[in-house]
């Protein structure tokens, strides 16, 4: 892959991002695909100074990711990836900070750091490996497991409702929210590049198959015969069309999405809801995120929302620079002797 046409021109090749550690995921695990797409796209995203890249993770199968990237890496503790990454980024805003995390790591124990990173708009790029299960601990249900799921810790079925990670991110005002699937390499590469280009907090949820403990969780979205009818590929400015032979579309009445048939002449593409990645309020994206709640609607992949506002790390840096401009660099002697002092002679 390293010398596939489009990257030949780059300074780096996929190899440059491959560490000397053997990859230890289960054969067939969706994580392999994510690693491959990242290593393929990075030469394009990272034109120079790969030493400025830092991968941070928590704990989980997915969180082993940094070991396999030949960049700076920090394998943190469970749930703390996004806040450790925050420390790295605030300390040195010139670094490009990426987070690899799982549905348990980010949304269960790590939920608070996640929503605060969204709100503060910390410029870190979060790849959520969502396999809807706890992999590393051998198959307990996770906050994204569907209600009623039978797992090692829910032998009679879980009784709680899953998070919609994108809805949570949107509710927390994340500036970039997108989704892709492990089995769709091209699309994932697209999304990784978009993440790489975003300035601000970015969440990319990736549906990832855990073939050991939750095999087939995303079958409908990945199997040849079903995927077209169940996946809605979002493209900015385009009407929302899907279906085996592109015969279905999403129409909006008020804030309420419905599926219409555009093959029988009753409706045409012009009647369909047109995707707007940049809509000012999170509402548009929110409607999309909640398509998942209903079986009659497809699951969208692509960029749900992107907007821009000052990042936390920039805010801190700018504030400091402004103050130094105004008052000049601090003088310790002045501070020490500044308060009301007296002399004993």
């Amino acid at each position: 892959m390293a010398n596939s046409p489009e990257v030949v021109a780059q300074k780096y090749t996929a190899k440059d991002f491959t560490s000397d550690q053997d990859v230890r995921w289960c054969p067939g695990c969706g994580d392999y695909s994510i690693l491959a797409q990242v290593q393929r796209t990075f030469p394009e995203i990272i034109q120079t100074n790969k030493e400025k890249i830092v991968w941070v993770s928590g704990i989980g199968c997915s969180s082993r990711f940094p070991y396999y990237m030949n960049t700076y890496g920090f394998h943190g503790i469970h749930g703390r990836a996004s806040i450790i990454a925050t420390g790295v980024k605030v300390a040195n805003p010139d670094l490009s900070v990426w987070v690899a995390t799982g549905d348990g790591d980010l949304l269960s124990i790590g939920g608070n750091h996640f929503i605060h990173a969204c709100r503060k708009n910390i410029d870190i790029k979060v790849l959520l490996f969502n396999n809807r299960i706890y992999g590393l601990t051998k198959g307990q249900y996770s906050p994204t497991s569907e209600k009623g799921k039978v797992t090692k810790t829910t032998p009679f079925g879980s009784v709680d409702y899953p998070f919609n990670p994108l809805s949570l991110a949107l509710g927390s005002d994340a500036t970039f929210v997108a989704r892709s699937i492990d089995r769709n390499p091209k699309h994932m590469q697209e999304m990784i590049k978009r993440v790489g280009q975003h300035k601000g907090f970015a969440l990319l949820e990736i549906f990832q198959n855990c073939n050991i403990f939750n095999d087939g969780a995303f079958e409908l979205l990945t199997e040849k015969d079903t995927k077209e009818d169940h996946v809605l590929v979002l493209e900015h400015g385009k009407p929302m069309v899907f279906g085996k032979n592109q015969d279905k579309g999403i129409k909006l009445d008020g804030a309420h999405p419905i599926v219409v048939d555009i093959s029988n002449g009753k409706y045409s593409k012009d009647d369909l809801w047109v995707h707007d990645e940049f809509s000012d309020a999170p509402v548009h994206a929110m409607i999309l995120a909640h398509l998942d709640d209903r079986v009659d609607l497809p699951s969208p992949i692509g960029v749900f929302r992107q907007y821009f506002k000052e990042t936390y790390d920039e805010g801190i840096r700018t504030q400091i620079n402004k103050i130094i401009e105004k008052k000049g660099k601090g003088d310790l002697e002045k501070i020490l002797f500044g308060a009301n002092t007296w002399e004993v002679s």
Partner: protein
């Protein structure tokens, strides 16, 4: 008539004063103004603010009483004093709460206006103590402070509420007169504090002066007091609290190490001020992150340490509990990190605004697995400055977490500080690893410290984390013998710090019947108790540990030379536990866990009981 008065000046070597009133009465301000002026005219002093956990408990209630005690003198002053010689009580509740502490025969100044039915009831007084004889045996002065203040401010464009807010300055002025201190400092302070509100400047200044003049002209005070300046070493001084000293210490460490300072923090009493002070030093490039919680605070700091900053995180007991797992990560990744724990009353939420020394064992042992860290403790407010620098030095040199212990008393208490010049401070500069040649993330130097290679350095890309590391290479490793080796190496590294810290000093003979051993904020109380015991003819020594893990090399040697070791602590014997285990010697303990500094007298009594008839000669 002033010359008449001059006759009545009594010279004292030290005095203990306590101001007490409603949370709304501004007692903390009164106390700190009196302290600053007192420091300014050259007395040594030591203060103890004591405020309720509630922000503004309803006026007149006992639990709403806020107090400020200080001791000042012409000799050196090491504690805020046990029992006050003078009590200023702004209302019945303040009197009720503090009376039992006033020295027999002490001076009692009350705001008589406040002793109405309502307030007496709120303070659960059945009869007015000013009326009955319950206060005989004290030098009681009833001063209608409220009305006198009102009179003084007549004509000023202020609401009654605003007027009554000035009465603490009247009280302050009166105390200035009584102890012969100048008004100027406070007048200046008022000027720039209320620079925008001229009427407030006028009002408070008038109230201050009115109080002073009241003393001058009325006859109710037959004597005034003089406390000569203390013979302090030459130099420029300022009055400083432990929290400000801590903040300044880390600022200095940042400057002397050449590393930008990063503080990951979450507010908690009594540690918040450190965050507040540091967030004002932006012009030094200090980055303060008020995180979502304490876990985030320490983890953000770990990220910043990885990125090459001088990274610290500050908190109090409950927060330290939350940082436990994060500190373990710093141990495994061997990154420099300083954790400041401003101890408060526990367990759990406990007594948030009170002081205690009960986090020592948590600091040393409170982590899963064998997770050794260096633990040091400051012993006075100004010592916080030097220990902050020392904590940074050790963390950076040994690539290890260091826990710096202070407590609520050190944090809020203050004392004069001879300000050092920047060039007198130790240089603690560090070198990052930049050479890719033979770079191994866990290849150790003579101090067993690993190299610090920060993101952004070409060719040194590497990965670290919380899983066990392979010796030298730092890759993930599950080999049994490697684990055994690494566990022992990490412990060894912290032990090695012993070669890099000063010996334990002894105040007094290096051998004898009794050594009083302390750590942290009990320094002043122990020192005074020991000196008093000596004055009474006893022979004993005092040693105070600033390094708890590891302890100074000579500690065992020092202890061995005394028949009896007494360890007074504001806990149930945590240092005693360490000493017993480390040196297998029995120790005497004094453990009073009252949320307050130890009283000199309590220690003295214990000393006397131990030295029985006395061991003078």
């Amino acid at each position: 008539m002033s010359e008449i008065k001059d006759k009545d000046f009594r010279v004292l070597t030290s005095v203990t004063v306590r101001f007490a009133g409603d949370s709304g009465d501004g007692m903390q301000l009164t106390g700190s103004q009196f302290s600053d002026t007192t420091a300014f005219i050259g007395n040594d002093l030591n203060t103890l603010p004591d405020y309720p956990a509630e922000i503004r408990a309803p006026a007149g209630t006992i639990y709403g009483v806020s107090g400020f005690q200080l001791a000042f003198g012409s000799d050196d002053v090491n504690t805020p004093g046990d029992l006050p010689d003078v009590l200023v009580a702004m209302n019945p509740a303040a009197l009720k709460k503090n009376m039992k502490e006033l020295k027999r025969g002490g001076v009692l100044i009350v705001n008589s206006d406040a002793f109405d039915q309502k307030n007496l009831k709120l303070a659960n007084y059945d009869s007015n103590p000013l009326a009955d004889d319950s206060l005989s045996g004290y030098e009681l002065h009833q001063v209608p402070i409220s009305s006198l203040t009102a009179n003084a401010l007549e004509g000023l464009p202020l609401s009654p509420k605003e007027v009554s807010r000035c009465k603490n300055f009247f009280a302050l002025g009166l105390m200035y007169w009584l102890y012969d201190r100048p008004l100027k400092n406070t007048e200046d302070w008022i000027k720039d504090k209320f620079s925008t509100k001229q009427e407030y400047v006028d009002a408070n200044t008038k109230a201050l002066q009115a109080g002073y003049n009241f003393g001058e002209i009325t006859e109710i005070f037959t004597t005034r007091y003089k406390v000569e300046a203390a013979k302090l070493p030459k130099g420029i001084y300022r009055n400083i609290s432990g929290n400000e000293a801590t903040a300044l210490g880390f600022l200095a460490a940042s400057v002397k190490s050449g590393l930008p300072l990063f503080l990951g923090s979450y507010p908690i009493t009594p540690a918040s001020e450190i965050l507040q002070y540091l967030s004002t030093y932006k012009s030094f490039g200090v980055k303060t992150v008020q995180a979502e919680d304490e876990i985030a605070g320490v983890c953000a700091a770990i990220g910043a340490a990885f990125a090459g900053h001088l990274a610290i995180t500050n908190t109090s007991g409950p927060g330290l509990a939350l940082k436990t797992e994060g500190i373990g990560l710093a141990v495994m990744t061997e990154l420099p990190l300083v954790i400041i724990d401003v101890q408060r009353g526990g367990p759990s939420t406990g007594l948030p605004t009170k002081t205690e020394q009960a986090d020592l064992l948590q600091s040393i042992y409170g982590r899963n697995g064998e997770a050794p860290v260096c633990v040091i403790a400051a012993r006075t407010p100004r010592d916080c400055f030097y220990m902050a620098i020392e904590a940074s030095r050790i963390a950076l040199k040994y690539m290890t977490p260091v826990i710096l212990l202070t407590d609520g008393y050190l944090a809020n208490g203050s004392e004069p500080w001879r300000i050092p010049h920047v060039n007198e401070l130790p240089d603690i500069s560090v070198k990052f690893r930049t050479d890719p040649e033979k770079f191994y993330p866990y290849l150790r130097d003579n101090n067993l410290a690993r190299p610090w290679a920060i993101p952004g350095t070409p060719g040194l890309e590497h990965r670290i984390g919380g899983l066990e590391k392979a010796d030298v290479y730092g890759t993930v490793n599950y080999d049994p013998d490697n684990h055994d080796k690494m566990v022992k190496l990490r412990t060894e590294k912290v032990k090695k710090i012993v070669n890099d810290i000063p010996d334990l000093e002894i105040d007094g003979d290096d051998h004898g019947d009794l050594l009083v051993l302390g750590w942290g904020s009990t320094y002043g109380s122990i020192k005074d108790a020991v000196n008093k015991a000596r004055k009474s003819g006893l022979r004993l020594s005092h040693a105070h540990l600033r390094y708890l893990n590891p302890m100074p090399k000579n500690t065992g040697q020092v202890l061995k030379n005394f028949k009896t070791i007494l360890i007074p602590e504001i806990n149930l014997g945590q240092l005693a536990h360490l000493i017993r285990s480390e040196f297998l010697i029995p120790v005497e303990q004094l453990n009073l866990v009252r949320g307050l500094p130890l009283k000199v007298n309590d220690i003295l009594e214990k000393i006397n009981s131990l030295l029985g008839g006395g061991n003078g000669k």
